[in-house]
Assembly symmetry: C2
Homo-oligomer: 178 residues x 2
Amino acid sequence: MKVIILRWGHRHRDIRVTSHVALTARAFGASGLVIADSEDKTVERTIKRVIDKWGGNFKIEMGVSWRNYIKSWKDKGGITVHLTMYGENIKSSDVMQRIKFSKKNILVLVGSQKVPSEFYHSDVSDFNVAIGNQPHSEVAAIAVFLDRLFEDDKFSDTPKGKFKILPSDRKKIVISTE
Amino acid sequence: MKVIILRWGHRHRDIRVTSHVALTARAFGASGLVIADSEDKTVERTIKRVIDKWGGNFKIEMGVSWRNYIKSWKDKGGITVHLTMYGENIKSSDVMQRIKFSKKNILVLVGSQKVPSEFYHSDVSDFNVAIGNQPHSEVAAIAVFLDRLFEDDKFSDTPKGKFKILPSDRKKIVISTE
């Protein structure tokens, strides 16, 4: 199962949060990020620097139309999951089970500002999912969604990078793998 | 068990990410946020607006010295958990069990830039905990740490606010509780 994050509504002032979105997506096992209808070379540079040092094959696409991307994703048999505080609660509903059961590639939709109302409709989002029905953060939502989707299987994998951390209770231990 | 987040190293340009830290802390069951050695009225206004609308008793403190805050926290019997990619991995170690087992109030330390090396020592951090040993985001780290700490028990609670969301697979449904 492949997971890609589509970020809608990115503006230049969102650089830091969009970078957190990208790094979180990568660290928790997504394969890539699409910054739809917008471009940001700073975000791209940040994530490329991280990949160069810490490894993995995370891909960034920018400037593509969200409508076309979603249509093409669905045409290829993938499903879409819109993360929104208004959606079905992952605790009080069985929505995570239904998503996992589909065993399809997942495009995760997150806004950086209020999304168009179309996002709630079935031609855009197959599922509207709330990581709790309180306002918080798309970064938090992606982390918890992927953590539960992959059931702990992904985020501690170490992609083969130039450097690797040895976990420690007291020190910063980084080893070179080259 | 009470949990407070202490944010170290906040600068004005971190406003958006610090706001995400605050909202995530609140939504996932923490009792408050301390912005140490710095002040930011914008972050405070954002979280106060959210509390006014959506409820809860989340507290913000600003400008206090991190050293004094941590010392006083420990003097009162609380423990400190530093979230860092260099720490003990929550997947491959039993660090979450040891933290839960202590049943003490927890001060969670997160940086917004590189933290002083003291943060890794036992006089500051009782635990150095990695939500995966890859770089990502303090917002993601707080969300997953609290999600696992409270074992699903907190973040979907609805504090009593003026408004409440009815989870929906297709619509934005907000009801007034007044």
